[in-house]
């Protein structure tokens, strides 16, 4: 039992660490990360097909929530409409694959690029609005998207109410794995790259500018940060992340239809973000887990009262962890290290 406690203490000590300790903390952190990736790589080989599919979905939702986190958690702009970007990404992939026969891996950059442009343009009017008023505009996007997708003038492209069936990505011939497993590894690779990129972004000069705007817009402007530029760019990047997640989602589910991208999807993302931890990258994956599994658990407890049980679970989580899973972990680690320090002094 001593080994994990040491790790935790090291992590906690990093806050006021000397450079030596800091190096140790980094290596511990890297070890944990490497271990997690190794586990993630082995999982599909030992689990059943359906569970592998579910885990793929968890990663996809986690990625979508990461997009929302960049905007809401790091930049402080509200969005109740990220389901719309998810849906847009999914439709870009579906249309490119089925109407233009483009290979599935090339559709991801296309979905990301289109969502970036739309998100950037969306960020322009958002500059004038704050808080709830901005929430309403994004909310309008979430409500409008299913209607637009069903619109008969666009039916040739979107397939109207019927939606579009997407071909399943086939694994390369030289790999002896099934399609579910291939999709899992493909998603894992994309998600790792995107999380690493987000991590670099957040720790860079740009990332600090983005967070400064959240914490004190006026001070940020006074320090020479170009607020309109950073805010619109963050909107674009956030939409890009969620759009790529949507594209992966289309590949995983192999089907897109207007009603899969309703307002509720946006609300689920928001719930996942908050329960995972605002402004935390690993928290996004916890959010993905919550979004995917908790409704199923609730439905298993009682079919008639599934919604009520889902609500009660949400309430319990928010009462126990008001700042999300990430905040809770931080708090727990700090408590443990305080206990340990007391033991050492004795």
């Amino acid at each position: 039992m001593t080994a994990p406690r040491e790790d935790i203490a090291l992590v906690a000590a990093a806050g006021r660490a000397s450079s030596e300790q800091r190096a140790a903390w980094l290596s511990t952190r890297h070890l944990v990360l490497a271990g997690a990736i190794a586990v993630a790589a082995v999982l599909p080989l030992v689990l059943q097909g359906f569970v592998v599919f579910q885990l793929t979905q968890v990663m996809i939702y986690g990625l979508a929530i990461l997009g929302l986190n960049l905007l809401t958690g790091f930049n402080g702009q509200f969005s109740v409409g990220h389901g719309a970007f998810y849906g847009l990404g999914a439709y870009v992939t579906a249309i490119l694959m089925q109407h233009y026969s483009i290979a599935y891996y090339w559709t991801l950059p296309a979905a990301g690029g289109i969502c970036f442009i739309v998100g950037f343009l969306f960020g322009l009017p958002a500059l004038r609005l704050q808080g709830l008023y901005l929430a309403l505009v994004t909310f309008a996007a979430a409500v409008a998207l299913p209607q637009l997708l069903k619109f008969h003038g666009l039916e040739n492209w979107t397939g109207g109410v019927q939606g579009i069936v997407v071909d399943q990505p086939e694994p390369p011939a030289f790999l002896p794995i099934g399609t579910d497993q291939w999709l899992y590894y493909f998603t894992l690779a994309v998600v790792l790259i995107m999380f690493a990129a987000a991590n670099s972004l957040v720790k860079s000069r740009t990332g600090r500018a983005i967070m400064a705007i959240r914490d004190h817009p006026i001070a940020a402007t006074a320090m020479g940060i170009n607020q309109p530029l950073y805010k619109t760019l963050t909107f674009g990047v956030s939409a890009l992340y969620t759009g790529v997640a949507g594209a992966l989602g289309a590949l995983a589910v192999q089907f897109v239809a207007p009603d899969s991208f309703s307002l509720f999807l946006s609300i689920y993302f928001l719930v996942g973000l908050i329960l995972g931890g605002i402004g935390s990258l690993p928290g996004c994956l916890f959010g993905g887990l919550f979004v995917l599994y908790v409704p199923n658990i609730a439905a298993e407890v009682s079919r008639g009262l599934a919604g009520a049980i889902y609500g009660v679970i949400m309430l319990l989580v928010i009462f126990v962890m008001p700042s999300g899973a990430a905040g809770f972990t931080r708090l727990a680690v700090a408590q443990l290290s305080r206990l340990r320090n007391r033991d050492l002094r004795r």
Binding site: L129, L132, L136, A140, A144, F151, L315, I318
Partner: protein, 292 residues
């Protein structure tokens, strides 16, 4: 011209629903400084309770008043039990609590009263109003009730000590506490009033859209839109905003060829976004000025 006039009147009839909901939304915003996403579900729950009372043989107006009082108590109870423990948590954490409340009430309605659509009685009758086929006497009655509520609330918030205390508590909790206002109870009271208005809205809307657990969801969307259009800090603005949303939606559906009918909700939202571009705090909202 005839068609335009007809569509405007029909839009006003729909707008009366949105206006009533927008008023409830703004009320709770003024009292607690947040939007309540569960407002519609609270109203639906109240309407179901009223339906049950009437089904057991209670006269309409007795049930009406009983439900308004029960809803007031229920609103206070929800604040005390669910939201008081979270009052230090971030806005987003409270948002999760709102969504949870939404989910619990929606699912609870379905469990207790199932999902079949029920008719709800109207106290105003269903005859055409002054011979017009576009606006029934029920809609006219709703508009009248909305107007009365608005006057009543205006007098309460502008003319009574309690109303002033509530506004102070929502606007600046710290200073309000320092002058001896019990901020926590003011918030609870705000929840109670909002729940009571929601109950009235639910009972008046139910005869038109019919009673089922999901009846308020669409209405709430329009209610939010109307409230934001009018400005979240202005009850009168919210009512006007609600009517405006109803009229815009109807006119867009009738007069814009090709895609007007399919996309009328989208068009209404676009109009609102355009208005917000020009006036970022809504048509009648106060611009918040803060000291740096």
């Amino acid at each position: 011209m005839q068609l335009l006039l007809q569509q405007v009147i029909a839009g006003l009839a729909n707008g009366a629903i949105y206006a009533l909901m927008a008023l409830a939304v703004v009320m709770i915003f003024l009292a607690i400084d947040h939007l309540n996403f569960a407002q519609g579900e609270m109203a639906t729950f109240s309407a179901f309770v009223a339906w049950q009372l009437i089904a057991w043989g209670t006269p309409y107006w007795v049930a009406f008043i009983a439900v308004v009082i029960l809803s007031f108590i229920g609103g206070v109870a929800i604040e005390r039990i669910m939201f008081k423990p979270l009052h230090n948590a971030s806005i987003l954490s409270q948002l999760v609590a709102f969504i949870a409340l939404f989910s619990i009430l929606n699912s609870g309605d379905g469990y207790l009263w199932d999902y079949t659509i029920k008719t709800f009685p109207t106290p105003f009758g269903t005859s055409p109003f002054f011979g017009s086929v576009l606006i029934g006497s029920h809609q006219a009655g709703m508009i009248a009730v909305t107007a009365v509520l608005l006057v009543f609330l205006y007098l309460f918030f502008r003319g009574t000590r309690l109303g002033l205390a509530m506004r102070a508590a929502a606007h600046n909790p710290e200073s309000a506490r320092l002058v001896g206002i019990r901020v926590g109870w003011m918030t609870a009271l705000g929840w109670g009033i909002a729940a009571a208005i929601g109950a009235i809205a639910g009972m008046l809307i139910a005869p038109i859209v019919f009673l089922d657990p999901n009846m308020m969801f669409g209405v709430l969307l329009y209610g939010f839109a109307g409230a934001v259009l009018g400005g979240l800090t202005s009850p009168g603005g919210a009512v006007l905003g609600g009517f405006a949303v109803g009229v815009i939606e109807n006119i867009a559906g009738t007069f814009i060829p090709y895609f007007g009918r399919d996309l009328k909700l989208t068009i209404a939202l676009l109009v609102i976004v355009a208005v917000l571009m020009v006036r970022p705090t809504g048509l009648f909202g106060r611009t918040a000025v803060s000291r740096v």
